[in-house]
């Protein structure tokens, strides 16, 4: 009739794939929780370690009065351990949670073409979408300066309430945490290794320290004559478009309109390159910054401060 005949070599492959997928959803669904921390529909989270839930920072829109709903329908109070807006991750602690914890897949499972299921619990029931990992790249830095171990783009629908839920393989093992909050709504997965690293740090210190200059910058092309006359390292600099009053750069005398061309001997042509120099270990250290001010070279010494914690999330993403 409608299906493949019984003696066909293809008989049963769709049924067994279907069973695998439904089985993966059922198994993994036990460690996916609903998180109630915003006004609209709940978001998703993963029971990562006993009593520890990881979620997408941008879906946690309040710091208190957070509850989670686990697979059996039980609602439990959760406390926010900490959040890292730069990687869009947050960690919650839930006492008395009986659900199993996530089973992680080997990182080698993250490859282009691998089938993946995105799971979410934007309500009482587990929900799922299917697709493939569409692109995999190396380590990358988010717009907010966080380091993610691998770039993992998904051709999988991340529906409303799915951010914070897991990307799982066909055996229900976790490959990463899904979010639409890191790349203008595009579906990305944060690899399990990054989730582990950020969770460790948040559990130890409650926050992710970041170096901070208090500057807003915009790349600008410098006139050839100026580059030659001042023997600048390249023809692109970063123009200061804002300086936080009382911030590290402001205290060092940096002015709006200054053009930053190098830090020490390293030319900078991209705000991301500068962010990369502001790791937690740099806080409190002084850097020498080469500037062009009014067409003349100058340099200032800035003592790197610590980025103030961003309390509220923006409302991007799902």
């Amino acid at each position: 009739m409608a299906g493949p005949s019984i003696d066909s070599p293809s008989a049963g492959v769709l049924e067994s794939l279907s069973n695998d997928l439904a089985g993966a959803v059922e198994r993994a669904g036990h460690f996916v929780v609903a998180i109630h921390a915003r006004r609209r529909i709940p978001a998703s989270g993963i029971h990562w370690r006993p009593g520890i839930i990881v979620a997408a920072h941008h879906t946690i829109q309040r710091d208190e009065d957070i509850t989670v709903t686990i697979a059996d329908g039980t609602s439990l109070a959760a406390t926010l351990v900490g959040r890292d807006p730069t990687t869009d991750l947050a960690v919650l602690r839930v006492d008395g949670i009986t659900a199993p914890v996530a089973r992680l897949a080997d990182a080698s499972g993250v490859r282009v073409g691998a089938l993946g299921l995105a799971l979410g619990r934007p309500g009482p029931a587990i929900t799922a979408s299917l697709g493939v990992i569409s692109a995999v790249g190396g380590e990358w830095r988010t717009w907010h300066g966080g380091m993610i171990d691998r770039f993992v783009r998904l051709d999988i629908s991340i529906y409303d309430g799915f951010s914070g839920g897991p990307l799982v393989d066909a055996a229900g093992r976790v490959l990463g945490l899904d979010t639409s909050g890191l790349s203008r709504g595009a579906a990305l997965a944060i690899p399990a290794s990054t989730v582990n690293r950020v969770a460790d740090q948040l559990l130890t210190t409650g926050r992710i320290a970041r170096g901070y200059l208090g500057l807003g910058m915009q790349p600008v092309r410098l006139p050839g004559g100026l580059v030659e006359r001042l023997r600048l390292p390249n023809d692109i600099g970063l123009m200061v478009v804002s300086a936080e009053a009382g911030g590290p750069a402001d205290r060092a005398g940096v002015l709006i309109g200054d053009i930053l061309v190098a830090v020490g001997d390293t030319p900078v042509a991209d705000p991301a390159e500068l962010l990369a120099m502001l790791g937690p270990d740099q806080i409190g250290k002084a850097i020498s910054v080469r500037l062009v001010r009014g067409g003349e070279p100058t340099s200032v010494s800035i003592t790197i401060g610590e980025r103030p914690q961003q309390q509220r999330s923006s409302r991007r993403g799902r």
């Binding site: 409608a2 299906g3 493949p4 293809s10 439904a22 669904g29 929900t127 529906y159």
Partner: protein, 202 residues
Amino acid sequence: MMTEPLATALAELAGGLRRSTVEVRTGGAGVGSGVIWTADGVVVTNAHVARSDVTTLVLWDGRTVSGRVTARDRRRDLATIAITGGGIVDGLRPATIGHPSTLRTGDLVVALGNPLGVAGALALGIVHALEPGHAGRPRWIRADIRLAPGNSGGPLADAQGRVVGVNTMIAGGLGIAVPVTTVARFLSDAGFRHDATGWRAA
């Protein structure tokens, strides 16, 4: 390699389901789809597809037959069309009807239909959620599957090609299907009766 048998199985499943799927034309702009429910020519579609009482149906092999709307339920968004081709239409193959209670979230589903007028197009996805209704019957089947206008009224089937729902709308990127359990109640209310051989007009 399992991709070859997988592709073969999908092609066979699509081929079978395509024979039980019709294109529904009502004279206005756009087309919808329908499912051949009985061997004597009863087609189930959406009420919003069967807008006029007289319709033209295009079978999988390109034959065009006329149909008359015999029942319409706007609340459930379902309708029946009787093929009136002026005599017996040969080779009508009713769909194999499944049961949504066998479905789990994550199960593969396929849709057949005429999205944006492309005849007999296949879409593959999974069950996203079974929205609870009364007495253990789902109210809707939500599917993570890419549908378009023209899929309305067409079949949503499981991995064995058994029809489990009638594709009815797209909401939030999800395909929403009326479960066949709801279709059975609609048919029963419309005076059809069911026996071991399937549904018949009373």
